[in-house]
């Protein structure tokens, strides 16, 4: 058991899985000698060499595309896209192929691979370095989409993603990389993909979030308990796709109210599916419209305006109080 931040926790997952399984290779820009621009792949190159930890040329489509080829052969590539803002260069490889080889070959081939990428705000970085693109991946059938919210579940979910026979897009919130440390057990842990986690129980309101926004949701819940005596159930989605509708619906059947918090732009965003799924499954329990607290529908804002754009505790509180007062 060691206290690790999310970077170290992810690094541990990679290290331990690579020690266990020679078929795992790591590939991406600067993942080797440099250890990744966020140091998630630190030391792996030294430990496993340049054939297993590949500093690729600068080309996202080929990073994903050659990983697909490796996966078809039987390797288990874990590729890194340096920032999610540059993942669209490889989007056609993910949508056209990684997500489809199982279907296209009727089970003869499949792509056991993970596409890791940092997403979201919080590092005072320029355009394309702070956006939240999870929606684009969540809508692709055949793909799984995972977003951990802290060191321990990040490590466990990355292990599960690596072992998952299907392609997994794995979003790591940059804002969490160094935000907090958590106890992470030495032995390998896994967490089931496709399962949301109730991180706080409550009967009055369900607050749903994931990634870096989970902290915001939790803080809002604590404040509501302290200031208003309202008990929120807080759900950490963890796997965006396939979405754990059962857990979401069960909670709202109990609470009758929900607030969804995410960093992605609102329109046609992940909150819409979450809200609709709840509405479909808990319609008669709903006491108020489900609220979405999200970033604005703007392409990017520059980090000088980031705080105003990304949901914060005050906004979640306001939405929660509105919902409760409905």
């Amino acid at each position: 058991m060691a206290k690790l931040n999310m970077v170290k926790a992810l690094n541990l997952a990679l290290l331990q899985e690579m020690e266990r399984d020679e078929d795992i290779v790591v590939i991406g820009e600067d993942v080797g000698v440099d250890g990744g621009v966020f140091r998630v792949t630190e030391d792996l190159h030294r430990k496993f060499g340049g054939k297993r930890v590949i500093d690729s040329p600068l080309a996202e489509a080929a990073i994903v595309g050659t990983s697909i080829g490796m996966a078809l052969y039987g390797l288990k590539p874990v590729c890194e896209i340096q920032f999610s803002g540059f993942s669209f260069q490889g989007f056609h490889q993910i949508e056209n192929h990684a997500a489809r080889y199982r279907m296209r070959s009727q089970g003869r081939f499949h792509c056991q691979m993970v596409v890791r990428m940092p997403y979201g705000g919080g590092v005072r970085a320029l355009e394309h370095h702070s956006e939240s693109e999870e929606q684009f991946y969540a809508h692709i059938p055949g793909l799984k989409m995972v977003i951990p919210s802290g060191p321990r579940n990040a490590r466990a979910l990355l292990v599960s993603a690596i072992r998952d026979p299907d392609p997994v897009v794995f979003f790591e919130a940059k804002g969490l990389y160094h935000a907090a440390r958590e106890d992470v057990p030495d032995e390998i842990e896994t967490l089931p993909i496709g399962r949301a986690h109730v991180v706080r129980e409550g009967a009055d309101l369900t607050v749903i979030s994931y990634g870096a926004m989970l902290r915001v949701a939790r803080e809002a819940a604590e404040t509501l308990a302290a200031e208003n005596g309202v008990e929120c159930e807080v759900i950490d989605v963890l796997t965006l796709s396939p979405l754990d509708r059962e857990t979401l619906v069960a909670s709202v059947r109990k609470t009758g109210r929900a607030v969804i918090v995410h960093e992605a732009p609102r329109s046609f965003g992940p909150g819409a599916e979450i809200a609709t799924s709840i509405m479909e499954g808990a319609f008669l329990s709903l006491e108020a419209p489900i609220r979405r607290v999200t970033a604005g529908d703007v392409p990017f804002v520059g980090f000088a305006r980031e705080r105003a754009n990304v949901p914060d505790v005050a906004r979640v509180l306001a939405a929660a109080r509105d919902t409760l007062a409905y």
Binding site: V64, M70, Y73, G74, H97, S105, G107
Partner: protein
């Protein structure tokens, strides 16, 4: 110091062994046993005859859109012929002859072009990727396969096919660049059939040859007469051997011609002249090879009938195949279907059971849909 030309200069070679007039460069003639020569010819002929049959089946509405290979049999067979069964073959969507050679049953290809998922499934031991439709996107996969083979230390070569148009895509570039840096055992076979649908090679790139694109990656590039199966074979054999020996990738440009339509949805009279087609018909790879075999007394009698019978039997099997069960479309989305897919499948099952349901899949040969005609272009 000053302004100077960097040495050594860059070059690409051109290879032709048996020209369209039947002239043979005996010094370059590859060693192929008589049986092998016959096998090669048969495979080319099978490709040609199936092609013709497929076009007819499409016109009758029994299969959907299909991309004929007529004219490109030498480029395909000359290259794939140098692979071992244990090597990998990565096709695009116009490699029927090569795919048959690699072991795809005819009826699977028919199923594929009739819109059945089942047609895309390679046999368990087959080292072939299924058809890839988005142009050039299969090339990084091929490089990844080659990397994995090298990583595992397997004695494997990968051969990847694509067209002239494919060389314009970013994926082509990225794949060749990765292959160069990684020095993997791969052979890139470009079938330059002069056209990408209606776009001639002149509008596709300003480079003199496609082979020279290899220079951008520090790789050897060679241009061959793609209608000369001997030249294609010789170049491919060398490239495969080189790859197998650990000497890295090669780009082979086969200069050939698509004698038929781009696909059954295309009308080439819109964009190219009858004369051009006729000129290339003179260079037909089959006629040329047949004459060569004839001279050697290797041309078997009754081969066409034999090949046609093989095709006919396969068409019969294809038509006897079960109608597509719609429920199976949920089977291979994930290794395990998640709850929402289980629910959607259940919903569909209910629906199919009920009276108002559409027929259980479409029986095939399926009738043309409303408004569809067997014309020479995409229509619904």
């Amino acid at each position: 110091m000053p302004r100077k030309v960097l040495e050594p200069r860059f070059s690409v070679e051109y290879l032709s062994i048996l020209d369209s007039d039947g002239n043979l460069d005996a010094a370059l003639e590859p060693e192929i046993s008589p049986e092998q020569l016959q096998t090669l010819y048969r495979a080319m002929l099978l490709g040609r005859r199936l092609d013709e049959r497929m076009v007819r089946l499409q016109r009758q509405g029994r299969v959907g859109t299909f991309a004929p290979i007529k004219g490109q049999e030498a480029s395909q067979m000359g290259s794939v012929f140098s692979l071992r069964r244990t090597d990998w073959m990565v096709p695009s969507f116009r490699e029927t002859a090569a795919m048959l050679w690699r072991g795809w049953p005819i009826e699977k290809l028919l199923l594929f072009f009739a819109g059945h998922l089942e047609g895309g499934q390679p046999a368990p031991d087959q080292r072939d990727l299924p058809i890839t439709i988005p142009v050039a996107t299969q090339l990084p996969h091929a490089v990844g396969l080659a990397y994995a083979a090298q990583y595992r230390g397997d004695d494997v070569v990968v051969m990847a096919f694509f067209g002239d148009g494919a060389t314009s895509e970013g994926d082509f570039h990225e794949a060749l660049n990765f292959a160069g840096v990684w020095h993997v055992p791969i052979v890139f076979v470009c079938q330059n059939n002069q056209w990408a649908i209606s776009v001639p090679i002149k509008k596709q790139t300003h480079s003199r040859t496609l082979a020279q694109k290899a220079l951008a990656y520090g790789l050897p590039g060679i241009q061959v007469d793609g209608n000369d199966v001997l030249a294609v074979y010789a170049a491919s054999r060398d490239a495969v051997e080189q790859a197998r020996a650990g000497d890295g990738p090669t780009l082979i440009e086969c200069v050939t011609y698509r004698l038929g339509v781009h696909t059954t949805a295309d009308d080439p009279t819109k964009y190219r002249s009858e004369e051009e087609v006729q000129e290339w018909e003179r260079k037909d790879p089959l006629t040329r090879f047949a004459a060569y075999l004839q001279k050697k007394n290797l041309l078997p009698e009754g081969l066409e009938q034999e090949v046609d019978a093989e095709i006919a039997a396969a068409v019969t099997r294809f038509e006897a195949a079960a109608a597509a069960d719609p429920l199976r479309m949920f089977d291979h989305v994930y290794a395990e279907p998640p709850p929402h897919l289980v629910a959607q499948r259940e919903e569909m099952r209910e629906r199919l059971r009920s009276d108002n349901a559409p027929p259980e899949g479409e029986p095939h040969p399926s009738p043309p849909m409303r408004g569809q005609r067997s014309t020479s272009r995409w229509r619904n």
